[in-house]
Symmetry: C2
Subunit: 418 residues, 2 copies
């Protein structure tokens, strides 16, 4: 992509009402745009990051045997009344709307109810189970205070997966497998090291649920980490009894602020019983289906990556989620030969399958470098007046490491090994 | 995909309240699920069709120079008040919602206002234009009567593209190019032949807008077609004056019912003026930006393909949008050798990059054939007790044409040339 064609521009200042680092950087670098408190748009660079995160999650969900669907935002009150989650005194995050005929509908904040009801049309026998169903869909939440930038918002896409299994053992096995898939996701997007499987409050069915908490001073949660065992406990369940249960030593735990970037939850038969999702077992007996639910908020994950990896110059994207791998900076536009060299290098990199943002703008070197630091692409390749086919400067955004590579090395992808 | 693993099942009957052919077939074949009147979910097969349509549209939008974004559903009243489109007396399709602090927000039924406001942060000079911005995003409409299956719904994903140009001429040129791109889309999804560029009512800025109308008895619109010139006039603008303008002869026009599957509209400077989107021209003078808007509803397009290509046995997908290209039917599960032959054929087809739905279910031949007809995949490949490596039956869904091909021919893709 030619940066001169990209409609977004970087800006020196984020909106005055934006206090969070993640949204400030993403807005200044042209990844997102703010509609109002708690509502953001994805601009072209932001959408590219989003799609890379989505694809990583999709691959992991498909590996688990998940089948992708797309369920509606508008919600039928009937099914939510059946599970006692329609009343705003029970669920205070609802946003609701009204049809012309005065019928009140909900805007989904989660999707257990509709997916469970739908599945009752497709499941009858034990042979129809287990099934794992997921989608990437908007959720709406009536947050009182939308702060923390893209972390706590009123509208966001969540990947939510629901498991439907015959027995508690089948649920437990899938729950464990999903935990591993989640660890894969967080490792692949570059924040596996600082993310901990965290014991949190469960429900009627299960003593604990589990969160994936990423250490960050921007986090809203407080967790207590056993760094050797690589697990943590959310402060909401930190009791002597729990510590004994988990065989953790309070003296060894480290307190940290953290961002919840995923959670997995055993639901038991609560929703299937309320909504009539049963199956006939081998003996012909009707039994309710065991369910679990598993969520990841995509833009929150994007914001977390920004928070935990950025530096004082801007964003630092891991290669797996960067909107482009290479930021090719042309500083030689006034030198006809070198300008042609830059143009050809751009073309050859694109032809080699490299994702390149090409800064062909008519701008000063200082401005280009500052923008490049802010935007945070993994590798910067610079064509200036000193550049030759044997010597092209490459800079790694994450650590500032520099190397001089030949044109051939660059086209062969050697920039990613400096 | 093994059909035995797919969670959806076909059904004999659609819901009783579903009168439209498109939704009846899509529900019975397991492509969609009905939440309530005018609200549908996409199930795995439906989502695959949807994604293929989305990719075709995306390719055509990118060819036009479009840059993809993702704008929010929740809408800030301020910008809609600025264009006089907030009041429900002016725009009766609004669905609205309320935050905990009683602030009323809209659910987007279109996106001119937010995209225009955002762009004002990124455009200042004539050098920043033209720009073309699109997204695939949910729209909500407070339809009084949601009928016609997936054609007229309360929640749907639209591809909406907005053009921002310096002059009326630039707008006209892009408008024409978008018309061609739309024709490409409708041809590529298999309904180009029966789709007509149709003159419809314009607005203050332009005498006409244009619709793409696909001939169908399920259509809600009436159009008058000049089959030689391959253009049509919507009845809403059919006057002698218009016919004279367009040099059409009333006597030659053919009346038909049609489904509007796309529309393109010149907006002039209405929204840019109201929302302060201006640019400085070469002389330093501020001018408002010329805009156009261009929409395609994706699931309506899916429903139209079903309506116009289906037969009395079920859906007939064109290869470009089919969820899978091949329906491999195993009728030889009781014959161990032939069963292994079918399993190996499935594996080899998948390895050859063919998208295959493999009916490995324990079911009767009649049921498998009826389901296959209903689901409408382009090529059926049958492994039965008579099948050998030299002779495998292939049936084309669209016309029932049969051929006997060898295993090698099938793996080489010859089934698509019968």
């Amino acid at each position: 992509m030619r940066q001169s064609k990209l409609f977004t521009k970087t800006r020196r200042e984020a909106p005055k009402d934006e206090v969070s680092q993640n949204a400030q950087l993403l807005i200044r670098a042209g990844y997102i745009s703010k509609e109002m408190a708690g509502v953001y748009d994805l601009l072209p660079l932001g959408l590219r990051v989003y799609k890379k995160i989505e694809n990583i999650i999709r691959e992991e969900m498909n590996m688990l045997g998940g089948q992708e669907v797309l369920f509606s935002v508008l919600q039928d009150p009937e099914i939510w009344k059946a599970t006692d989650r329609w009343d705003e005194k029970k669920v205070d995050v609802w946003l609701k709307t009204k049809l012309a005929n005065d019928t009140e509908l909900g805007l989904a904040f989660t999707h257990e109810e509709p997916i469970t009801r739908m599945l009752a049309n497709h499941v009858s026998s034990y042979r129809d189970l287990p099934k794992y169903i997921y989608h990437f869909q908007l959720k709406f939440r009536n947050e009182l205070r939308a702060k923390s930038g893209v972390m706590r918002v009123r509208e966001f896409v969540m990947k939510d997966l629901y498991s439907f299994t015959r027995t508690e053992q089948e649920l437990n096995d899938f729950y464990t497998a999903t935990g591993v898939a989640y660890e894969n996701v967080f490792r692949r997007v570059g924040i596996g090291e600082m993310t901990y499987l965290t014991f949190a409050s469960g429900g009627v069915f299960s003593k604990f649920s589990h969160e994936f908490q990423c250490i960050s001073t921007a986090g809203e949660d407080t967790i207590y980490i056993d760094t050797e065992k690589r697990i943590a406990v959310n402060e909401e369940v930190l009791t002597d009894e729990v510590l004994k249960d988990l065989e953790l030593d309070r003296g060894k735990l480290v307190e940290a602020k953290a961002i919840e970037i995923g959670n997995i939850f055993k639901l038991g038969t609560k929703y299937s019983s309320a909504l009539g999702l049963t199956y006939k077992d081998e003996t012909g007996k009707d039994s309710p289906v065991y369910m679990g639910s598993y969520g990841i908020g995509l833009v929150r994950l994007m914001g977390t990556i920004v928070e935990v990896l950025c530096d004082d110059k801007g964003i630092v994207w891991p290669e797996t989620v960067a909107p482009y791998t290479v930021h090719l900076i042309n500083l030689a536009q006034s030198d006809e030969k070198k300008n042609v060299f830059a143009e050809e290098l751009y073309r050859d990199l694109v032809n080699a399958g490299v994702e390149v943002l090409y800064d062909d703008r008519d701008a000063r070197a200082g401005e280009k470098f500052a923008d490049s630091d802010l935007m945070g692409l993994p590798y910067r390749i610079i064509v200036g007046k000193e550049t030759s086919a044997d010597s092209i400067e490459v800079v790694k955004r994450a650590d500032g490491k520099k190397a001089s590579l030949s044109r051939e090395q660059i086209i062969a992808g050697a920039f990613s090994k400096i």
